[in-house]
Subunit: 396 residues, 2 copies
């Protein structure tokens, strides 16, 4: 196959609220090769990623992402690795490039899987896709009471695990944070596993994070996620050495080595990879293997659509020992509408990939046409980007 086109679609809810819900907008990616189609999704800031797709070259190591993809040959997994390497070299000094390319890389796997009639995990060399325990991933409520109610609803839906994050957590006192965690545990009940995500709120302040550990330990929180910025290895190591609560991090990594460095230098027990940021499924799978070899748990970071969820699961579906998966439990109407087929937890609270080629889920463009943003980027007399038609035969 020859990659004929890479189309980006910026979709957004009519109102974007100032909360930590990453499912409020979406950059949907469509890759075309002859009659064949692959879909993917980038994480966050669609307009910035569109610009980096089409921007004029600054110099030999700062080219638009599109220049390294369009026209390339795609016949097997090695071609994806080769194209990824081209992007790395040609867009070395374009910081946004890994976020931009991640959605394209996912679409390349989807396209290749459909072409070869194989699921992506099989193309990655995995013989089986293991089911994972889905943990419902939601924001803390603004109050302990709201948090309690949200937790109770999650338990009622049959989830065996839940993660609460962002919102007020870490912005108030140690006592308020303890009440939030207590409320989450009370709402869930004794059985479900509970995790807490601090969203890098303490920067590098180890004492501030350590002050929260007694409450986290008391309510049997399985990990404290992202107390610090992704590069704060020293702070991570000192907190992890405390030993009372396991530490998780990694979603900020935009290349596989960044996530591996967290494993090697930061003392984390779980590495969490956002497939839509780290460069796609291939780099995610590389980190998953690295983690497994070192006895570190690998978890997907997913807070957006079911398409993104499927992409993230393929990367570690073959790992029997990584048994947990993040599950966006309260997606926006946009994220919920993208695909008709869905990955839903079974009665035992586990999720699995569909038995279908490629990613296994396919967007239904007609379902999201109302969210499509009309974008135009012009430099001089040249329109570098104009929103392409999302549906065949539709006006742009």
């Amino acid at each position: 196959m020859r990659i004929d086109a890479v189309d980006f679609f910026y979709l957004a809810m009519p109102e974007i609220r100032d909360v930590g819900d990453g499912s409020q907008d979406m950059l949907l990616v469509r890759v075309l090769a002859g009659d064949e189609v692959g879909w993917g999704e980038c994480e966050a800031s669609p307009l910035t990623s569109i610009a980096s797709l089409v921007t004029p070259m600054s110099h030999s190591a700062c080219k638009p992402v599109l220049a390294s993809v369009q026209g390339e040959t795609l016949n097997d997994a090695k071609d994806i690795a080769r194209i990824s390497q081209r992007v790395r070299e040609n867009s070395l000094d374009l910081l946004q490039a890994p976020h931009t390319y991640s959605g394209i890389e996912i679409a390349l796997w989807d396209l290749l899987g459909k072409h070869l009639d194989a699921p992506v995990y099989a193309l990655l060399g995995q013989s089986k896709a293991h089911r994972k325990v889905a943990y419902a991933s939601v924001l803390f409520g603004d109050t302990p009471q709201q948090t309690y109610e949200r937790a109770k609803e999650i338990a009622d839906r049959g989830f065996r695990a839940a993660k609460f994050g962002w919102g007020p957590y870490g912005h108030g006192t140690v006592a308020v944070d303890a009440e939030l965690v207590e409320a989450a545990r009370a709402g869930l009940g004794d059985e479900p596993r509970l995790f807490v995500d601090a969203g890098t709120v303490w920067g590098e302040d180890v004492e501030a994070a350590a002050a929260r550990l007694p409450a986290l330990e008391a309510h049997r929180v399985g990990w404290l996620e992202e107390p610090f910025g992704t590069a704060a290895f020293g702070a991570y190591s000192r907190l992890a050495a405390d030993g009372r609560v396991a530490i998780a991090a990694g979603e900020g990594a935009h290349d596989p080595r960044g996530a591996m460095n967290l494993i090697d230098y930061a003392g984390i027990a779980y590495v969490q990879v956002e497939t839509g940021r780290i460069g796609g499924i291939g780099p995610s799978a590389r980190v998953a293997e690295y983690a497994a070899e070192r006895g570190i748990g690998y978890i997907n970071h997913t807070f957006t659509s079911q398409l993104a969820l499927a992409a993230s699961l393929h990367a570690f579906a073959g790992l029997a020992d990584s048994t947990l998966a993040e599950y966006p439990a309260e997606p926006s109407p946009l994220a919920a509408a993208l695909t008709t087929d869905r990955i839903e937890p079974d009665a035992d609270g586990t999720i699995g990939l569909p038995d279908a080629p490629g990613l296994g889920l396919t967007p239904t463009p007609a379902n999201v046409r109302g969210y499509l943003m009309d974008v135009e980027i012009r430099v001089g007399d040249t329109v570098l980007y104009a929103t392409p038609p999302l549906e065949e035969g539709a006006p742009p």
Copy 2:
């Protein structure tokens, strides 16, 4: 002062060549507070950084960079630190943000320095700006002969040090690379110091890099720069342990902790910071201090304009022991035209900052008006960005 406006200007040479010359385009930043003006410059991919300045919010931790700057108060250095922290929190998931904000932060220092009638290095708490030995930073020629001639010209201009990088280096055989280094040394003569920049060409391949060490040692190369990607700490450590040639890296860091991690985990002898990527002058100064405390050499990474050079020098002007500075020796006509006043090496090959408030150099917009790109970004019915007038009273 109140920050009234942040204006971005995309300037570019009429033709951008596919070579590693980062001075072929420029994102010039102007910050206005009442009647007062500050100037700065971002490094690489102007269109992408423009988009990230004005992009609609994706969620609470993915806001446009402008939202954290416009309308803020600026009266002292603490205000700059506070605004920088706002950008970090509000644009945590917008990968391009540090590159975008770097030019703004530089302009904030320039504005504050002019307002307080003090040079930026003094606002950073430095009592004196030490002169530095300028090393001429150029690309390898396509052939050893071209490299020889370029080196000879540099020596004739009186430089006491030079760095050659990119071009064919690392893309051919070990023998060809040795010839390039030999030619650079032959052209410079015995006295000048020589450095080599591999531009991350070997990825993580320690053996490929190690194979070049004998020639580098034989021709007394002071450091081998960026043999690997910025996050490849393990590869860096193994190569540094060889000990024959000092290793330098850091220009890829987009936050200060990333550069500090190279010091702590990668075994480098010199840390090189691009002020236009790492978040501006404040974070650069933080890395400089960290390096000095650990006996690691701090060097600016600068390959663009004199304005960028001035910004990078302020960050470590106070460090007497960091005696070298990268000097863009073959800037594009655009980069050369930006400022009328210039930092030029003295007869002893050293450079120093002008004795003037702020950055000490000021752009002359009329000199670069012919390079200004007319850009428009529209989302729905809203024009989010249109190139503003660069000169007072001029049409946009």
